[in-house]
Symmetry: C2
Subunit: 264 residues, 2 copies
DNA sequence: CAGGCTATAATGTATAGTCATATACTCGAC
DNA sequence: GTCGAGTATATGACTATACATTATAGCCTG
């Protein structure tokens, strides 16, 4: 009921803003899953009663931002997020290990359902307590522990996680399939390994570790919080910054060859 | 004379690609300094022999990417970089300390001119040795050492640095004034403090530290390499990711220096 | 000279088309 | 059934134009 609201933070004034907000919202909220085809320009023209240029410019912008992929004749599709977040490259741990040419394995150390505590409520931004799944996983590179993962999953946002054992797929990858587009916030710091973490990682207590905490949320609420603890010299985070990719738009268009899910 | 060249990595095929590449190149290379006014749409139309829509779309895209700021009637201007790199927010250390409400001071511990060694040549991507300025600085928050900065400046790229004492302005800030737009690559890791670093920072050796290494380059060559060593729990890096800013384009246009709400 | 008004110059939004290009799909030849 | 040619379709590039918005610069008045 937003009738005659004060003029602060007024809604979209222009057609293109409305289209952008609508589409971005649908993608970020997960209503349009990754790979899903989005309406063609003609349909959007009709829907928003505007010209083709207008919708096209919005779609082009979304494509540049990496949210969608456009293919001639086929249409426009919701992009796959991991190809996007290259600004701060925190890939799948499995991929990281593979890049080191070491066999990857992983195991769940601890799995526990409970309600969110008060401090966690801060993270998940809800007033009431939320059902959570608490997971501790250990990722191995060969015989050596590579990363300790301490994760909380908001079961209200992802109820299916409650019955998932994560025996096959690590929770990170598992979640990425379900909640494809998301807003992420990282906090990165160095810390000495706590005794328990050190034991799990088979390193001496007080060894310097790189600690990455990431809160992942969709538009509505936080979905998962994860703390990744990497033994000091094993891991390095790389982030590079280039304002606009030097690749041609043509290169940008058709990445991710095979994947073509079709959902409504 | 590009007659029938093989189609690999051919130059810009389209007008808009050429315009984009040209303008981005001029900004990134520093030929157009921050704040500098860029040609108005009419001039670009004439220069590239195309319609206004075409140049406008390019400029709009550059504006969305944060490289330029557009103001009605006034024209388009090269943006100020620090307002941009919000993806991985590594601000001026002075600003960091100010945010903690502590008095900031800093001093140069070591200043030394020399030629680049072989491993550094790797960083700076030149074949021959390059004249370099080596600097060690200590940044203080109140009475406490806050960050140790170990920096190399490519004197071939920034000759003025040779005669600069950096007594007033820290090298990071000093460089930012000179080389406004740049490509940056960060490597972030946790490491135990080396004895010398520990002594400078007045912490126990082997204390976990957050080490940030950043190579900054313009299109031609690396300009500076810096290693920032933060005592473990003193510092946290925050990076948040949002595909397209939720703000309206209007908000985006006139960003004032006092903006940038912290995220979380 | 302060304060306000206006003309103007720049961007901002949007329309309505044309032609180009890539490609999913169909359909026919084999 | 498979391969290949042709066709339909959706995006891509671009033009030409119109009107809106807004900040600057200069003018005009008191």
């Amino acid at each position: 009921m937003r009738t005659s609201r004060p003029r602060t933070k007024q809604g979209p004034r222009f057609i293109h803003e409305r289209i952008l907000a609508d589409i971005q919202g649908k993608i970020l909220s997960g209503r349009w899953a990754a790979g899903c085809r989005i309406p063609i320009e003609q349909e959007l023209m009709k829907q928003y009663q505007c010209s083709r240029m207008t919708v096209s410019k919005v779609l082009t912008r979304l494509a540049h931002a990496g949210l969608i992929v456009r293919r001639r004749k086929a249409g426009s599709f919701v992009g796959h997020p991991h190809s996007q977040s290259a600004v701060l490259d925190i890939p799948d741990i499995k991929v990281e290990v593979a890049a080191l040419d070491l066999p990857y394995s992983y195991g769940v150390l601890h799995r526990h359902k409970r309600r969110s505590s008060r401090e966690e409520r801060e993270i998940f931004g809800k007033d009431g307590a939320v059902p959570m799944l608490e997971l501790d996983c250990l990722h191995m590179a060969g015989e050596q522990p590579f990363c300790l993962e301490q994760r909380l999953i908001n079961l209200q946002a992802v109820p299916e996680a409650a019955s998932e054992t994560f025996a096959e797929l690590a929770p990170g990858a598992w979640l990425r399939r379900r909640v494809p587009w998301m807003l992420a916030e990282h906090r990165i710091r160095a810390a000495a390994a706590e005794p328990e973490a050190a034991a799990a990682l088979k390193i001496k207590p007080r060894t310097p570790c790189l600690v990455i905490e990431r809160t992942t949320r969709d538009v509505a609420s936080a979905i998962t919080f994860v703390r990744l603890i990497y033994p000091g010299n094993l891991h390095e985070l790389v982030a590079s910054f280039m304002p606009i990719a030097a690749v041609s738009d043509a290169d940008l268009r058709d990445r991710s060859p095979a994947s073509r899910a079709r959902s409504g």
